[in-house]
Homo-oligomer: 214 residues x 2
Amino acid sequence: MYTTIQLTDILNMPKVKRLHLINSIVGFKSANLIGTKNTNGRSNVAVFSSIIHMGSNPPIVGMVLRPTSVPRHTYENIKNFGFYTINHVHHKFIANAHQTSAKYKKSVSEFDACDFTEYYSPEFPAPYVRESKVKIGVSFVEEHPIKINNTLLVVGQIMEIILPEKAIEKDGFVKLSKLGTTTINGLDMYGKVQALSRFEEAKVNKPLQEKKKD
Amino acid sequence: MYTTIQLTDILNMPKVKRLHLINSIVGFKSANLIGTKNTNGRSNVAVFSSIIHMGSNPPIVGMVLRPTSVPRHTYENIKNFGFYTINHVHHKFIANAHQTSAKYKKSVSEFDACDFTEYYSPEFPAPYVRESKVKIGVSFVEEHPIKINNTLLVVGQIMEIILPEKAIEKDGFVKLSKLGTTTINGLDMYGKVQALSRFEEAKVNKPLQEKKKD
Protein backbone atom coordinates (compact mmCIF):
# COMPACT_ATOMS: atom_id res chain seq x y z
CA MET A 1 0.00 0.00 0.00
CA TYR A 2 1.49 3.27 -1.15
CA THR A 3 0.72 6.54 0.58
CA THR A 4 1.12 10.10 -0.72
CA ILE A 5 2.34 12.84 1.60
CA GLN A 6 1.76 16.36 0.33
CA LEU A 7 3.79 19.48 1.20
CA THR A 8 1.01 20.75 3.49
CA ASP A 9 1.07 17.41 5.40
CA ILE A 10 4.83 17.81 5.83
CA LEU A 11 4.54 21.40 7.05
CA ASN A 12 1.83 20.39 9.54
CA MET A 13 3.72 17.42 11.01
CA PRO A 14 5.14 17.48 14.53
CA LYS A 15 8.73 18.77 14.29
CA VAL A 16 10.52 15.53 15.23
CA LYS A 17 8.49 13.42 12.81
CA ARG A 18 9.22 15.88 9.98
CA LEU A 19 12.94 15.91 10.83
CA HIS A 20 13.20 12.11 10.68
CA LEU A 21 11.06 11.75 7.55
CA ILE A 22 12.71 14.46 5.46
CA ASN A 23 16.26 13.68 6.60
CA SER A 24 15.85 10.05 5.59
CA ILE A 25 13.92 10.42 2.35
CA VAL A 26 16.36 11.52 -0.38
CA GLY A 27 18.74 8.59 0.03
CA PHE A 28 21.91 7.47 1.72
CA LYS A 29 24.43 10.08 2.84
CA SER A 30 28.16 10.20 3.46
CA ALA A 31 29.42 9.70 7.04
CA ASN A 32 32.33 11.97 7.92
CA LEU A 33 33.98 13.62 10.87
CA ILE A 34 34.95 17.24 10.15
CA GLY A 35 38.11 18.30 11.95
CA THR A 36 38.72 22.01 12.57
CA LYS A 37 40.75 24.37 14.72
CA ASN A 38 39.87 27.79 16.10
CA THR A 39 42.19 30.80 16.13
CA ASN A 40 43.23 29.95 19.72
CA GLY A 41 44.44 26.54 18.53
CA ARG A 42 41.59 24.55 20.08
CA SER A 43 40.53 21.60 17.96
CA ASN A 44 36.97 20.52 17.20
CA VAL A 45 35.51 17.46 15.50
CA ALA A 46 31.89 16.87 14.52
CA VAL A 47 29.97 14.30 12.51
CA PHE A 48 28.38 15.50 9.23
CA SER A 49 26.29 13.65 6.67
CA SER A 50 26.19 16.52 4.17
CA ILE A 51 29.58 16.22 2.46
CA ILE A 52 29.27 15.88 -1.30
CA HIS A 53 31.47 15.51 -4.35
CA MET A 54 31.33 18.62 -6.55
CA GLY A 55 34.09 18.16 -9.12
CA SER A 56 37.34 16.34 -9.88
CA ASN A 57 39.51 18.86 -11.74
CA PRO A 58 40.25 20.69 -9.52
CA PRO A 59 39.06 18.35 -6.73
CA ILE A 60 36.11 20.12 -5.07
CA VAL A 61 33.87 19.09 -2.16
CA GLY A 62 30.80 20.76 -0.71
CA MET A 63 29.07 20.61 2.65
CA VAL A 64 25.76 22.00 3.81
CA LEU A 65 25.42 23.55 7.24
CA ARG A 66 23.17 25.81 9.21
CA PRO A 67 25.42 28.54 10.62
CA THR A 68 22.77 29.91 12.94
CA SER A 69 22.37 26.63 14.84
CA VAL A 70 24.54 23.80 16.23
CA PRO A 71 27.15 22.66 15.28
CA ARG A 72 28.18 26.22 14.57
CA HIS A 73 31.75 25.85 15.90
CA THR A 74 32.63 23.93 12.75
CA TYR A 75 31.51 26.80 10.51
CA GLU A 76 33.25 29.51 12.56
CA ASN A 77 36.47 27.52 12.54
CA ILE A 78 36.36 26.86 8.79
CA LYS A 79 35.82 30.56 8.08
CA ASN A 80 38.44 31.83 10.53
CA PHE A 81 41.12 29.19 10.01
CA GLY A 82 40.58 28.47 6.30
CA PHE A 83 41.42 24.76 6.48
CA TYR A 84 39.48 21.70 7.64
CA THR A 85 39.59 17.92 7.34
CA ILE A 86 37.13 15.25 6.21
CA ASN A 87 37.60 11.87 7.93
CA HIS A 88 35.58 8.75 7.13
CA VAL A 89 33.44 7.17 9.85
CA HIS A 90 34.44 3.49 10.18
CA HIS A 91 31.85 1.01 11.46
CA LYS A 92 33.98 0.32 14.53
CA PHE A 93 33.50 3.84 15.90
CA ILE A 94 29.98 4.89 14.90
CA ALA A 95 28.96 5.47 18.54
CA ASN A 96 31.92 7.78 19.20
CA ALA A 97 31.26 9.56 15.93
CA HIS A 98 27.60 10.12 16.80
CA GLN A 99 28.55 11.38 20.26
CA THR A 100 30.37 14.33 18.63
CA SER A 101 26.91 15.74 17.80
CA ALA A 102 26.26 16.55 21.49
CA LYS A 103 26.31 20.27 22.27
CA TYR A 104 29.74 20.55 23.86
CA LYS A 105 30.94 23.91 25.13
CA LYS A 106 33.42 25.82 22.99
CA SER A 107 36.16 25.15 25.57
CA VAL A 108 35.84 21.36 25.12
CA SER A 109 37.54 19.48 22.29
CA GLU A 110 35.33 16.67 21.01
CA PHE A 111 38.56 14.82 20.18
CA ASP A 112 39.04 14.34 23.94
CA ALA A 113 35.38 14.04 24.90
CA CYS A 114 34.64 11.36 22.28
CA ASP A 115 37.92 9.42 22.32
CA PHE A 116 39.40 10.44 19.02
CA THR A 117 43.07 11.26 18.43
CA GLU A 118 44.29 14.36 16.62
CA TYR A 119 46.73 13.68 13.82
CA TYR A 120 48.71 16.27 11.85
CA SER A 121 50.37 15.66 8.52
CA PRO A 122 53.59 17.56 7.72
CA GLU A 123 51.87 19.53 4.96
CA PHE A 124 48.51 20.52 6.44
CA PRO A 125 47.49 22.67 9.45
CA ALA A 126 44.04 21.30 10.40
CA PRO A 127 43.57 18.27 12.67
CA TYR A 128 42.83 14.88 11.13
CA VAL A 129 41.17 12.02 13.01
CA ARG A 130 43.89 9.39 13.41
CA GLU A 131 41.35 6.56 13.69
CA SER A 132 39.88 7.26 10.23
CA LYS A 133 41.28 5.18 7.37
CA VAL A 134 40.57 7.92 4.83
CA LYS A 135 41.62 11.49 5.69
CA ILE A 136 41.14 14.47 3.38
CA GLY A 137 42.64 17.94 3.91
CA VAL A 138 40.49 20.75 2.49
CA SER A 139 41.01 24.46 1.91
CA PHE A 140 37.98 26.81 2.05
CA VAL A 141 37.10 28.29 -1.36
CA GLU A 142 33.64 29.90 -1.43
CA GLU A 143 30.26 29.85 0.30
CA HIS A 144 26.71 30.21 -0.97
CA PRO A 145 23.84 31.27 1.30
CA ILE A 146 20.66 29.36 0.42
CA LYS A 147 17.89 31.95 0.50
CA ILE A 148 14.90 29.74 1.13
CA ASN A 149 16.08 28.32 4.46
CA ASN A 150 19.22 30.19 5.60
CA THR A 151 21.47 27.19 5.21
CA LEU A 152 24.89 27.54 3.66
CA LEU A 153 26.82 25.57 1.07
CA VAL A 154 30.52 25.65 1.92
CA VAL A 155 32.80 24.76 -1.00
CA GLY A 156 36.39 23.62 -0.53
CA GLN A 157 39.33 22.31 -2.53
CA ILE A 158 41.02 19.02 -1.63
CA MET A 159 44.67 19.70 -0.74
CA GLU A 160 45.71 16.18 0.26
CA ILE A 161 44.31 12.67 0.72
CA ILE A 162 45.76 10.14 3.16
CA LEU A 163 44.57 6.55 2.72
CA PRO A 164 45.78 2.93 2.65
CA GLU A 165 47.84 2.54 -0.53
CA LYS A 166 46.22 -0.81 -1.37
CA ALA A 167 42.74 0.73 -1.35
CA ILE A 168 43.37 2.52 -4.65
CA GLU A 169 42.42 0.23 -7.53
CA LYS A 170 44.24 0.30 -10.90
CA ASP A 171 41.82 2.80 -12.43
CA GLY A 172 41.88 5.11 -9.39
CA PHE A 173 38.64 3.86 -7.81
CA VAL A 174 38.52 3.46 -4.02
CA LYS A 175 36.09 0.76 -2.90
CA LEU A 176 34.82 2.20 0.37
CA SER A 177 33.06 -0.98 1.48
CA LYS A 178 36.51 -2.64 1.75
CA LEU A 179 37.66 0.18 4.05
CA GLY A 180 34.74 -0.14 6.48
CA THR A 181 33.39 3.32 5.64
CA THR A 182 29.76 3.72 6.76
CA THR A 183 26.78 5.59 5.35
CA ILE A 184 24.14 7.59 7.23
CA ASN A 185 20.37 7.23 6.77
CA GLY A 186 18.38 10.10 8.24
CA LEU A 187 19.61 11.70 11.45
CA ASP A 188 20.87 8.72 13.40
CA MET A 189 21.15 5.43 11.52
CA TYR A 190 24.56 4.16 10.45
CA GLY A 191 24.92 1.38 7.89
CA LYS A 192 27.54 -0.83 6.28
CA VAL A 193 27.67 -1.21 2.53
CA GLN A 194 27.87 -4.39 0.50
CA ALA A 195 29.20 -3.78 -3.03
CA LEU A 196 26.92 -5.11 -5.77
CA SER A 197 28.40 -4.21 -9.18
CA ARG A 198 30.61 -1.78 -11.02
CA PHE A 199 29.54 -0.93 -14.56
CA GLU A 200 31.43 0.15 -17.66
CA GLU A 201 30.52 3.53 -19.15
CA ALA A 202 26.99 3.29 -20.58
CA LYS A 203 26.70 3.65 -24.37
CA VAL A 204 23.65 4.16 -26.59
CA ASN A 205 22.70 0.93 -28.46
CA LYS A 206 25.19 -1.25 -26.58
CA PRO A 207 24.32 -3.60 -23.71
CA LEU A 208 25.74 -2.40 -20.39
CA GLN A 209 28.71 -4.46 -19.17
CA GLU A 210 29.78 -5.10 -15.60
CA LYS A 211 33.39 -4.18 -14.94
CA LYS A 212 35.71 -7.13 -14.58
CA LYS A 213 37.26 -7.50 -11.16
CA ASP A 214 40.97 -6.59 -10.81
CA MET B 1 50.83 1.25 4.51
CA TYR B 2 49.29 4.67 4.17
CA THR B 3 50.03 6.93 1.22
CA THR B 4 49.58 10.71 0.92
CA ILE B 5 48.35 12.20 -2.33
CA GLN B 6 48.90 15.94 -2.68
CA LEU B 7 46.85 18.38 -4.76
CA THR B 8 49.62 18.60 -7.38
CA ASP B 9 49.59 14.78 -7.72
CA ILE B 10 45.81 14.92 -8.26
CA LEU B 11 46.08 17.67 -10.87
CA ASN B 12 48.82 15.74 -12.72
CA MET B 13 46.95 12.40 -12.78
CA PRO B 14 45.54 10.97 -16.03
CA LYS B 15 41.94 12.21 -16.32
CA VAL B 16 40.17 8.86 -15.82
CA LYS B 17 42.22 7.97 -12.75
CA ARG B 18 41.47 11.38 -11.21
CA LEU B 19 37.75 11.01 -11.98
CA HIS B 20 37.52 7.63 -10.24
CA LEU B 21 39.66 8.63 -7.26
CA ILE B 22 37.98 11.96 -6.50
CA ASN B 23 34.44 10.74 -7.21
CA SER B 24 34.88 7.87 -4.75
CA ILE B 25 36.80 9.57 -1.97
CA VAL B 26 34.34 11.70 0.04
CA GLY B 27 32.00 8.84 0.90
CA PHE B 28 28.82 7.09 -0.15
CA LYS B 29 26.29 8.97 -2.26
CA SER B 30 22.56 8.78 -2.87
CA ALA B 31 21.31 6.81 -5.90
CA ASN B 32 18.37 8.46 -7.64
CA LEU B 33 16.72 8.72 -11.01
CA ILE B 34 15.72 12.28 -11.87
CA GLY B 35 12.56 12.46 -13.96
CA THR B 36 11.91 15.56 -16.08
CA LYS B 37 9.85 16.77 -19.02
CA ASN B 38 10.71 19.32 -21.70
CA THR B 39 8.36 22.01 -22.98
CA ASN B 40 7.34 19.72 -25.87
CA GLY B 41 6.17 17.12 -23.36
CA ARG B 42 9.04 14.69 -23.95
CA SER B 43 10.12 12.92 -20.78
CA ASN B 44 13.69 12.28 -19.65
CA VAL B 45 15.16 10.23 -16.83
CA ALA B 46 18.79 10.16 -15.70
CA VAL B 47 20.73 8.68 -12.79
CA PHE B 48 22.31 11.15 -10.33
CA SER B 49 24.42 10.58 -7.23
CA SER B 50 24.48 14.23 -6.16
CA ILE B 51 21.08 14.64 -4.47
CA ILE B 52 21.40 15.93 -0.91
CA HIS B 53 19.18 16.85 2.01
CA MET B 54 19.29 20.61 2.70
CA GLY B 55 16.53 21.22 5.22
CA SER B 56 13.30 19.87 6.69
CA ASN B 57 11.12 22.92 7.32
CA PRO B 58 10.35 23.63 4.54
CA PRO B 59 11.56 20.35 2.99
CA ILE B 60 14.50 21.28 0.74
CA VAL B 61 16.75 19.16 -1.48
CA GLY B 62 19.80 20.09 -3.52
CA MET B 63 21.56 18.56 -6.50
CA VAL B 64 24.86 19.37 -8.14
CA LEU B 65 25.18 19.32 -11.90
CA ARG B 66 27.40 20.56 -14.65
CA PRO B 67 25.14 22.44 -17.04
CA THR B 68 27.77 22.71 -19.77
CA SER B 69 28.19 18.94 -20.12
CA VAL B 70 26.05 15.77 -20.23
CA PRO B 71 23.45 15.10 -18.83
CA ARG B 72 22.40 18.65 -19.65
CA HIS B 73 18.85 17.73 -20.71
CA THR B 74 17.96 17.30 -17.06
CA TYR B 75 19.04 20.84 -16.22
CA GLU B 76 17.29 22.44 -19.22
CA ASN B 77 14.09 20.58 -18.36
CA ILE B 78 14.21 21.58 -14.68
CA LYS B 79 14.71 25.23 -15.59
CA ASN B 80 12.08 25.34 -18.35
CA PHE B 81 9.42 23.14 -16.75
CA GLY B 82 9.98 24.04 -13.08
CA PHE B 83 9.18 20.58 -11.67
CA TYR B 84 11.15 17.35 -11.47
CA THR B 85 11.06 14.04 -9.61
CA ILE B 86 13.55 12.12 -7.47
CA ASN B 87 13.11 8.33 -7.59
CA HIS B 88 15.16 5.85 -5.56
CA VAL B 89 17.32 3.29 -7.38
CA HIS B 90 16.36 -0.20 -6.12
CA HIS B 91 18.99 -2.95 -6.25
CA LYS B 92 16.84 -4.89 -8.75
CA PHE B 93 17.30 -2.27 -11.47
CA ILE B 94 20.82 -0.85 -11.00
CA ALA B 95 21.85 -1.85 -14.55
CA ASN B 96 18.85 -0.07 -16.12
CA ALA B 97 19.50 2.94 -13.90
CA HIS B 98 23.16 3.13 -14.93
CA GLN B 99 22.19 2.79 -18.60
CA THR B 100 20.34 6.14 -18.36
CA SER B 101 23.79 7.81 -18.20
CA ALA B 102 24.43 6.99 -21.88
CA LYS B 103 24.36 10.04 -24.16
CA TYR B 104 20.93 9.59 -25.71
CA LYS B 105 19.69 12.09 -28.29
CA LYS B 106 17.20 14.69 -27.14
CA SER B 107 14.45 12.98 -29.18
CA VAL B 108 14.83 9.74 -27.20
CA SER B 109 13.14 9.19 -23.83
CA GLU B 110 15.37 7.21 -21.51
CA PHE B 111 12.16 5.86 -19.96
CA ASP B 112 11.69 3.82 -23.18
CA ALA B 113 15.36 3.18 -23.92
CA CYS B 114 16.12 1.88 -20.41
CA ASP B 115 12.84 0.04 -19.64
CA PHE B 116 11.35 2.36 -17.06
CA THR B 117 7.67 3.31 -16.87
CA GLU B 118 6.40 6.88 -16.52
CA TYR B 119 3.98 7.40 -13.69
CA TYR B 120 1.98 10.57 -12.99
CA SER B 121 0.32 11.41 -9.70
CA PRO B 122 -2.91 13.42 -9.76
CA GLU B 123 -1.22 16.40 -8.10
CA PHE B 124 2.13 16.70 -9.86
CA PRO B 125 3.14 17.41 -13.50
CA ALA B 126 6.60 15.80 -13.79
CA PRO B 127 7.10 12.09 -14.59
CA TYR B 128 7.86 9.67 -11.76
CA VAL B 129 9.56 6.29 -12.26
CA ARG B 130 6.85 3.70 -11.53
CA GLU B 131 9.43 1.04 -10.60
CA SER B 132 10.88 3.16 -7.74
CA LYS B 133 9.51 2.46 -4.27
CA VAL B 134 10.18 6.02 -3.12
CA LYS B 135 9.11 8.88 -5.40
CA ILE B 136 9.54 12.56 -4.55
CA GLY B 137 8.02 15.47 -6.50
CA VAL B 138 10.14 18.64 -6.39
CA SER B 139 9.57 22.24 -7.42
CA PHE B 140 12.58 24.35 -8.53
CA VAL B 141 13.42 27.14 -6.06
CA GLU B 142 16.86 28.66 -6.67
CA GLU B 143 20.26 27.93 -8.24
CA HIS B 144 23.80 28.81 -7.24
CA PRO B 145 26.66 28.86 -9.76
CA ILE B 146 29.86 27.52 -8.18
CA LYS B 147 32.60 29.86 -9.34
CA ILE B 148 35.63 27.62 -8.99
CA ASN B 149 34.47 24.91 -11.41
CA ASN B 150 31.32 26.11 -13.22
CA THR B 151 29.08 23.52 -11.60
CA LEU B 152 25.66 24.45 -10.34
CA LEU B 153 23.75 23.75 -7.15
CA VAL B 154 20.05 23.42 -7.95
CA VAL B 155 17.76 23.82 -4.92
CA GLY B 156 14.18 22.55 -4.86
CA GLN B 157 11.25 22.17 -2.48
CA ILE B 158 9.60 18.78 -1.92
CA MET B 159 5.95 19.00 -3.00
CA GLU B 160 4.96 15.38 -2.43
CA ILE B 161 6.38 12.03 -1.38
CA ILE B 162 4.96 8.68 -2.52
CA LEU B 163 6.20 5.62 -0.63
CA PRO B 164 5.01 2.34 0.97
CA GLU B 165 2.95 3.32 4.02
CA LYS B 166 4.59 0.62 6.18
CA ALA B 167 8.06 2.06 5.50
CA ILE B 168 7.40 5.05 7.76
CA GLU B 169 8.36 4.21 11.35
CA LYS B 170 6.55 5.68 14.36
CA ASP B 171 8.94 8.61 14.70
CA GLY B 172 8.87 9.42 10.97
CA PHE B 173 12.12 7.65 10.05
CA VAL B 174 12.24 5.70 6.78
CA LYS B 175 14.70 2.80 6.87
CA LEU B 176 15.98 2.76 3.31
CA SER B 177 17.75 -0.59 3.64
CA LYS B 178 14.33 -2.23 4.08
CA LEU B 179 13.15 -0.65 0.83
CA GLY B 180 16.08 -1.94 -1.25
CA THR B 181 17.41 1.57 -1.95
CA THR B 182 21.02 1.50 -3.15
CA THR B 183 23.99 3.82 -2.65
CA ILE B 184 26.62 4.86 -5.20
CA ASN B 185 30.38 4.77 -4.63
CA GLY B 186 32.34 6.78 -7.19
CA LEU B 187 31.12 6.88 -10.77
CA ASP B 188 29.89 3.35 -11.29
CA MET B 189 29.64 1.14 -8.20
CA TYR B 190 26.24 0.39 -6.69
CA GLY B 191 25.89 -1.05 -3.19
CA LYS B 192 23.27 -2.41 -0.81
CA VAL B 193 23.16 -1.18 2.77
CA GLN B 194 22.98 -3.22 5.95
CA ALA B 195 21.64 -1.20 8.89
CA LEU B 196 23.93 -1.25 11.95
CA SER B 197 22.43 0.99 14.68
CA ARG B 198 20.19 3.95 15.33
CA PHE B 199 21.25 6.23 18.15
CA GLU B 200 19.34 8.49 20.54
CA GLU B 201 20.21 12.19 20.46
CA ALA B 202 23.74 12.61 21.85
CA LYS B 203 24.04 14.53 25.14
CA VAL B 204 27.06 15.96 26.94
CA ASN B 205 28.04 13.83 29.99
CA LYS B 206 25.59 11.02 29.21
CA PRO B 207 26.50 7.70 27.58
CA LEU B 208 25.07 7.38 24.08
CA GLN B 209 22.12 4.98 23.85
CA GLU B 210 21.07 2.88 20.88
CA LYS B 211 17.46 3.40 19.87
CA LYS B 212 15.18 0.55 20.80
CA LYS B 213 13.64 -1.26 17.85
CA ASP B 214 9.94 -0.66 17.16
